[in-house]
Each structure stands twice: as structure tokens, then as C-alpha cells.
Subunit: 274 residues, 2 copies
């Protein structure tokens, strides 16, 4: 199934817009985990605990690459594919490079790891996105306006009264998304940008980081970002869920946090669906 269809199916079937970020920092893992594959074991228990409340999982590759644990990232994605085949996996890698190299990165994300979608950085231009976009069955989620404090340094620069981020959204909508397999990253910390970008991109999915630890406002995000079907968003939470407890109850605490957030999102969006 193509990524966009798999995602729309997951939104409906799971009745959730929550994306759970799998960013296991070895220094923060619960002490109860021991043995050779602690990142994977941690993820496995988080996945089992939160799958019911999730429309997507998003492992962030840096946490595996820093410690030479690419094999545990492979195991994690395979575990999701085998056990929760309806839930898409977004590899958060924010890759960006010229054509020949971008093809290698596309292979890394889609063939080696088997991810349904990958995040990419648009700074180098549209031609550098093409090798990912050519994989029409996979999703390509392009950084547009990110959630961090310094995101305005470049993304917020304005020319002809348009920000760089808005220009990225316009290029995405008009030039880049020929295969209907693109999405955009827009931070929850900039809800007014979410609204402007939604108006430009129609029903294209948005991945929304910045809820939870970074303090984005859920109500504003949903009001600004929902598509016409009351979906269109993957609202990511990582640390607030996976580190909800540092004890032996970490998986139960993660489940509770995911359930709470999923329900919060649903009760807000019900208001906007009427």
C-alpha cells in the first residue's frame, strides 16, 4: 500500500493522530533493561504499549547511529512491520544531498530499513528530493518550519513578504509533489504558520513535532492544521511518552500518556468536525 493510503487508513482505523517518536537515549533508559539489545527491548515494550493509540511510529536515526546500533533500528522497524502492519513507520533522518548520494540515502531508508517514509531537508533544492519522490510507494516528509527556537534564522527569512518556509510549502504543493507522496514538517510551536501552510498545501499530511517537552499548544495546532476530513496531521510526541516513567512501569506509563494525548487530540478535533 502506498504511504499516503496507509497513513489515511491508520488515521481512521486507529482513530488517532498521534505519532510516537522512538528516540531511545541510552543514558535515559530505565535501569530494568539489561542485556545486549536494550534499545530494541525498550522500543519493543513502548511499541506494544502505545500501538493502540498511535497512527505512526517515528524512530530518530541519530539515537542508533551515535552508539553504532543500526541493527537495533533495523530490528525495531521490522518488529513494527511484522506486528503492526497497519501502522506506518517514518524514519526521521532529515537527509539531504545531491542526486547520486540522495539515491543512496533513499536506499538506506526504504530498502535497508524498510521505512514507509523518511524525513528530508530541502535546503539543497528540489532536484535533491527527486530520488526519494521517485519511490512512489514511499512517503517523503520535507522540513518546512521546524519547532526549535532558531528555526527562524533561515526558515523565517522573508522576501516579497513570503518566508522561506512558506516558499517551501508552495514549491511542495506546486512543483515537487507530482507523485502525491509528500508531507511537510511544521512545528507545533508555530501554529499561525501551520494555518498559512495548510491553506497552501490542501490535504497534504503534516508531521507536527513540538507538542509535549517543547510546549506546543494542541488546541491551536488542531484548529490550524486539520484537513477537510479532520485528519491530515501526525502529531509527534517522543520524550513525554517514552520517558513518562523511569521505573519498571515505563511501558504502562507510556501507554497511559499515549492514551491521554490521543484522547485529548480526539476530543479537541471533535469540536472542529461538527
Amino acid at each position: 500500500m502506498r504511504f499516503q493510503e496507509k497513513l489515511r487508513h491508520a488515521w481512521r482505523k486507529q482513530n488517532s493522530l498521534l505519532c510516537v517518536g522512538l528516540d531511545p537515549d541510552p543514558a535515559k533508559l530505565p535501569g530494568v533493561l539489561t542485556g545486549g539489545h536494550t534499545l530494541f527491548e525498550f522500543n519493543r515494550r513502548i511499541i506494544d504499549a502505545t500501538a493502540k493509540w498511535s497512527c505512526a511510529f517515528k524512530p530518530q536515526i541519530a539515537y542508533y547511529a551515535a552508539v553504532g546500533a543500526e541493527n537495533q533500528l533495523e530490528m525495531t522497524i521490522r518488529y513494527i512491520v511484522d506486528n503492526y502492519p497497519d501502522i506506518p513507520v517514518i524514519l526521521d533522518a532529515k537527509r539531504g544531498d545531491i542526486g547520486a548520494t540522495a539515491e543512496m540515502y533513499a536506499r538506506e531508508a526504504f530498502d535497508r530499513y524498510g521505512a514507509d517514509a523518511v524525513t528530508v531537508n530541502p535546503y539543497m533544492g528540489g532536484d535533491t528530493l527527486q530520488p526519494y519522490l521517485d519511490r512512489t510507494d514511499r512517503g517523503v516528509i520535507v522540513l518546512c518550519r521546524t519547532s526549535n527556537p532558531g528555526s527562524g534564522d533561515i526558515q523565517g527569512l522573508e522576501f516579497d513578504r513570503e518566508s522561506v518556509a512558506l516558499r517551501v510549502a508552495k514549491m511542495a504543493a506546486t512543483d515537487w509533489n507530482k507523485n502525491s507522496n509528500m508531507g511537510l514538517v511544521v512545528g507545533a510551536t508555530y501554529p499561525e504558520q501551520i494555518k498559512i501552510i495548510r491553506d497552501v498545501i490542501g490535504d497534504m499530511p503534516m508531521l507536527i513535532p513540538g507538542i509535549g517537552a517543547q510546549g506546543g499548544d494542541l488546541q491551536k495546532v488542531l484548529k490550524a492544521g486539520l484537513d477537510r476530513a479532520g485528519t491530515g496531521l501526525m502529531i509527534n510526541a517522543s520524550r513525554s511518552i517514552i520517558y513518562a516513567s523511569n521505573g519498571s512501569d515505563f511501558a504502562e506509563a507510556a501507554a497511559k500518556e499515549a492514551q491521554t494525548l490521543c484522547n485529548q487530540i480526539n476530543s479537541i478535533r471533535e469540536k472542529y468536525l461538527q
Copy 2:
């Protein structure tokens, strides 16, 4: 030794501004290589053949990640460090992410792989560069104006008659480079940009891709980009050197190509040093 000093030392000692890109595509390797570590074996022979003419080596991580060969990237960098300790290694990874994740990427590049410098993408803003810059002994080489045809899509956008790329150069020079460990990537295919950026950044090193297979003009690049000491540039060539021959003489052919390019560069820069 700090990266900047190591690089300046290499420019002088090697009498070269040539950076050799180690981008081994498994589909393009000479048939004479067999066995379990062909990427490393290929690199080892290229390194031994070209070290004499090089001021830096630049492995591109995608070529290893696509095929799950991170161990061969580790072996490659260790081989350079052990055998050519005066020649800095730039890990071409073009990473970019928020603080906590950027710290993981810095660990990947500097601790896991032991690279002297890493390339990073500035799209997410200055705060996302800080975890790399805080590693004052290592180099941080920021994408500014890249060599590919689509680089203008974002980097070429102009506001107040300044391009995004020029604004990146100005932020690099005035805000970001507090630890004097930054460099910029500027493509050989835009020599007029190299000149404008050189005027802004003083003696900050530039990594110049786009010579060779991409067709940048060496004469224009050197005229525009040399610093006051007649150095300041790492002029990268990858494919034109490493694939100079596909036969059993591939290493000799690479050496010849590297020697020719190094000498070409030196004969042109002599003109500008008088």
C-alpha cells in the same frame, strides 16, 4: 590538534588544496576487488595512492549506510588516522536536527567515527549547529551554496537583495563561529558566489564540491576563493579520481588523476600569490 590548525598544517605540508571524496558505490567498484570488505579495500588503495596529493579525505556516509557497511566507514577513517595522521578527515553527513538529536549526531561523527570535521545543514537554524560547534577541537562545515542545479530553490532566494546563502555566510561569520571551528560549503559551479562569500567570511575555510564530474571551473574558483595565504580551500573531487579507471590499475589511475589536479590547482594559485 584543533581541526583548523590540522587543516592549515596539511595545506602547507602536503602543498595541496585537494580533498579526495571517498564515495564508493558498490555498483561501480573495480571487479578486481573481492571478499568481505570491498568498500574498505577500495578506499585503502585509493587513500594510499592519493594521500601524497591531498589535504583532506572526505568519506560520504550515505554510501556506507545504504548497504549497512558502517563498520567499513569506521575502518576507513581509522586507517587514515593511523597511517596519515596529518591529513584531516571530513565526514560528509550533512546532518541537521534539534539540540538533543544534534548531540547524538555530533557523537556519531566525532566519537564513533573519529572524524576531524563533519558537514552540517543550516536549514533548522543556529541553535541546531551549537552541539557540533561546542566540540571546539573539531570542525563544523556548514552548507552555504551547494553545487547542484537546484541549489537556487532555497539558497538563491533573495530578500533585501541578499540571498539566503549570503545570509548564512554572514551569520556564520558574525554569530556562529565563536569557536573558530567553522567552514562553509560553496559549490565550484557558482564562482561569483565564492567571491562574495569569501569577502564576508575572511579566512574561514571553504569546502568546494563541483569540480570534476560536475564541471566547475578551477581557474574561476581559485581566483574567487583563495584566502590571503593562498590557501583557504578544500577543493573536492570524488568520482573523477576514485573511478578514474575501472580496471586493476584503478589505484594508479586515481593517483595520476589526483596528482594532475593537485598540480593544476598549484600552478593556477601561483599566479594569484605573486
